[in-house]
C-alpha cells in the first residue's frame, strides 16, 4: 500500500531522537569552545557547569529564587500576551485607532528599560521591575503579530460577514480569532522566550530578594562563571518547561475559542 508523507512535526520517537542528537551536538560544540577558550572564568566546560548546578540546585536559596523568577516570568508573559492581544486586535480592526496609538507604541517599542529604570524602580517594588522590563520587551512583539493576524483574515469571509450583517463580536469570534490563532501561537512562542530572558536580566538590575537574576549577579561579581551558567541553566529549563506546557495547552485551546 502506498504511504502518504505526513507534514506533521515528528512527535514521539524520531522527534525525541533528533532532539537528543541536537542536544549532544550542542554540548559537544560547547565543550570544544570551552577548550579553545581555555579559561574557566570566560567559558566553563559543560561538566564544570554540571558540577556547579549539582551544588546549587538543591539549596533552599536556589529553590526560592526559582520560584520567584517563575512567578515573575509567568506574570510578564501573561500581561504581555493579554495586553498585546488586546492592543493588536484594536489596531488591526481600527486603522484610526492604530494611527492614534502608533506614537505611544513606537515609544514603548524603542525605549530601553535603562532609560526609564529610575521611574520603574520608584513606581514598582523591586520584584516588579523585571516584570515591567519583560513586558516592555515582549508586548510590542505580541502587538505586531496580532495586528498582522487580524489583517490576515480571509477577505472572502469578511465580505460574507458584511453582507449578512454579522455583529462585531460574531465577526471577531468566528473570523478574526481563528485567523489570529497561528499568529498568536508564534507571538506566544517568541514572547515566552523573551520574558524569561528579560525577567532574569531585569532581576540582575533590580536585585529582588528571591530571583535567579540576583543569584546570577552575585556569581558574576565573584567571576564564578560556572555558577553564572548554572543559574542561567535554571532559566533555560524554566523556558523549556513552560514551552512544553504551552504547546500542550495550545492543542486544547483552539476548540475553547470557538463560539459555543
Amino acid at each position: 500500500m502506498r504511504k502518504s508523507r505526513s507534514a506533521e512535526p515528528h512527535r514521539g520517537v524520531p522527534g525525541a531522537a533528533a532532539g537528543a542528537v541536537g542536544a549532544l551536538a550542542f554540548l559537544l560544540l560547547w565543550e570544544l569552545a570551552a577548550r579553545a577558550v581555555g579559561s574557566e572564568i570566560v567559558l566553563p566546560s559543560p561538566p564544570r557547569v554540571a558540577r556547579a548546578a549539582a551544588e546549587l540546585f538543591p539549596t533552599v536559596r536556589f529553590l526560592a529564587a526559582l520560584e520567584g523568577t517563575f512567578l515573575r516570568g509567568i506574570l510578564a508573559f501573561g500581561i504581555s500576551l493579554a495586553a498585546g492581544a488586546a492592543v493588536g486586535l484594536v489596531c488591526g480592526l481600527s486603522p484610526v485607532l492604530a494611527s492614534a496609538l502608533s506614537p505611544a507604541l513606537t515609544v514603548i517599542r524603542a525605549t530601553p528599560v535603562l532609560a526609564v529604570i529610575l521611574l520603574a524602580l520608584i513606581w514598582f517594588p523591586s520584584g516588579a521591575v523585571p516584570v515591567f522590563a519583560a513586558v516592555l520587551m515582549a508586548f510590542p512583539v505580541v502587538v505586531a503579530d496580532v495586528r498582522q493576524g487580524v489583517r490576515s483574515a480571509d477577505p472572502g469571509l469578511l465580505e460574507m460577514a458584511r453582507l449578512f450583517r454579522l455583529r462585531k463580536r460574531d465577526r471577531i469570534r468566528s473570523i478574526y480569532v481563528p485567523a489570529l490563532a497561528p499568529y498568536l501561537a508564534s507571538a506566544s512562542h517568541g514572547a515566552l522566550g523573551l520574558c524569561w530572558k528579560v525577567v532574569v536580566a531585569g532581576e540582575v538590575l533590580s536585585q529582588p530578594a528571591r530571583a535567579l537574576g540576583t543569584g546570577m549577579q552575585g556569581a558574576r561579581i565573584q567571576l564564578e562563571t560556572a555558577e553564572v551558567f548554572a543559574w542561567t541553566l535554571a532559566g533555560i529549563l524554566l523556558c523549556a518547561l513552560t514551552d512544553a506546557a504551552f504547546k500542550l495547552a495550545q492543542r486544547k485551546v483552539p476548540r475553547a475559542l470557538l463560539p459555543s
Binding site: 572564568i41 570566560v42 520608584i122 529582588p208 561579581i221 565573584q222
Partner: protein, 305 residues
C-alpha cells in the same frame, strides 16, 4: 603576547568612572618608557570587561577592584598586584537629621550600592565590630543601582544610603539637606585597626615585571605622578576626565576628587591593608577572592629606578 627583546607597546586598561580619574594625566600625555617601549591606554567600561580583557591577554596592566585582582590571581592568571591606587571612597549619606551615629542605622532601610562589592562588606564588618547583626539589625536594600540611589537621595525619595564617590558628592550637591553624618573610614579603623581600606589596585603582567623591569617602574612612576597631579589640580583634572571620555563630567569629577582618596601605595607597603580587606571578603564570600588569601608572590616587588 610576551613582549619581545625589541621595543614594544604596553597596554594599560583604565576603568571608566571614578577609578579612572587618578590616571587621567597619563591619557593627556602618555609617558615614555625605557628602551623605546611605549604605553597605550584604553578606557574599559566595566570590571567585567576588564576581567575579560585580562583573561584574553589583551592587556599588560590594568586598574581594577582589589578583590577582583585577587580572584584573577587565584584563577591562575599571570598578573600581580603592583600598587594600590585608590583607598576607601565610601560614605554614608543621609537627609535625615536624626541620623548621627552608626547605631542610628539600626532598623532603618539603608540603600547600599553594589551587593557583593566593597560597600556591602564594609558595612557588614563595621556593624559586626560594633555588636550589630547586619542581617537582623540592619535593613540593607540593594535594589537601586548607584546613579539611581544618588538620584533618589537628591529627589528626596530615600533618606539613607551608602555610596562610593562620585555619587556621594552628587547626592550632597543635589540636595542641600543631605550630609555625611560620620566617617566610615574612622569606623573601619576602629573595627580593623587598619588606617584605610584599599578599593582599586593596579596589576601588571608577570612577564612585563620580569623582562622589562625598567619600563614597569617607569609606568608606576608615571602613575604616581599622575595621581599627585590630580590631587593637586582637581579642576584641571576634571576637564581632562571629560575630554578623555572617562564617563564623568568635568564639574562632577572636580568636586569628587578632593573627597576621594587617590593614593599610590606600592604593593609591599599596601599588603597589610589589602590582606585586611581580603580577609573580610574571605569570611563573608570566600569565592569572590578565589577561596583563600593570595600568597606573597601576589604582591610584586618593583625595582626602584
Amino acid at each position: 603576547r610576551e613582549p619581545t627583546a625589541g621595543a614594544s607597546v604596553l597596554r594599560l586598561g583604565a576603568l571608566k568612572g571614578p577609578s579612572g580619574i587618578g590616571m587621567v594625566r597619563m591619557f593627556e600625555s602618555p609617558p615614555r618608557l625605557s628602551r623605546g617601549d611605549t604605553l597605550e591606554l584604553q578606557a574599559v567600561p566595566s570590571a567585567d570587561a576588564m576581567a575579560a580583557k585580562l583573561v584574553a591577554g589583551e592587556l599588560d596592566a590594568a586598574v581594577l577592584p582589589v578583590n577582583l585582582a585577587a580572584k584573577l590571581y587565584a584563577s591562575g592568571l599571570p598578573y600581580r598586584l603592583a600598587a594600590v591606587v585608590g583607598m576607601g571612597m565610601v560614605s554614608v549619606v543621609t537627609t535625615d537629621p536624626a541620623v548621627r551615629t552608626f547605631e542610628d542605622l539600626a532598623g532603618r532601610e539603608v540603600h547600599v550600592a553594589g551587593q557583593g562589592a566593597t560597600p556591602e562588606y564594609l558595612i557588614r564588618t563595621i556593624a559586626e565590630a560594633r555588636g550589630l547583626d547586619p542581617d537582623r539589625d540592619l535593613n540593607l536594600a540593594f535594589r537601586l543601582p548607584y546613579p539611581e540611589i544618588a538620584a533618589s537621595l537628591a529627589a528626596g525619595r530615600i533618606s539613607l544610603a551608602v555610596l562610593p564617590e562620585p555619587f556621594a558628592t552628587q547626592a550632597l550637591a543635589g540636595n542641600p539637606r543631605a550630609r555625611v553624618p560620620f566617617s566610615l573610614d574612622e569606623l573601619w579603623k576602629e573595627a580593623t585597626g587598619r588606617p584605610g581600606y584599599p578599593m582599586t589596585a593596579l596589576v601588571i603582567r608577570d612577564a612585563v615585571l620580569r623582562d622589562r623591569p625598567v619600563s614597569a617602574s617607569a609606568l608606576l612612576a608615571a602613575y604616581a605622578d599622575s595621581i599627585a597631579w590630580v590631587r593637586a589640580h582637581p579642576g584641571d583634572a576634571g576637564v581632562l576626565v571629560e575630554k578623555h571620555d572617562l564617563g564623568l563630567k568635568a564639574s562632577v569629577a572636580a568636586a569628587a576628587i578632593p573627597r576621594s582618596a587617590y593614593v599610590f601605595i606600592p604593593a609591599p607597603d599596601a599588603r597589610a591593608d589589602v590582606e585586611a580587606l581580603l580577609a573580610v571578603f574571605l569570611r563573608i564570600a570566600p569565592k569572590s577572592i578565589g577561596g583563600r588569601l593570595p600568597d606573597p608572590s601576589f604582591y610584586a616587588e618593583i625595582p626602584k629606578r
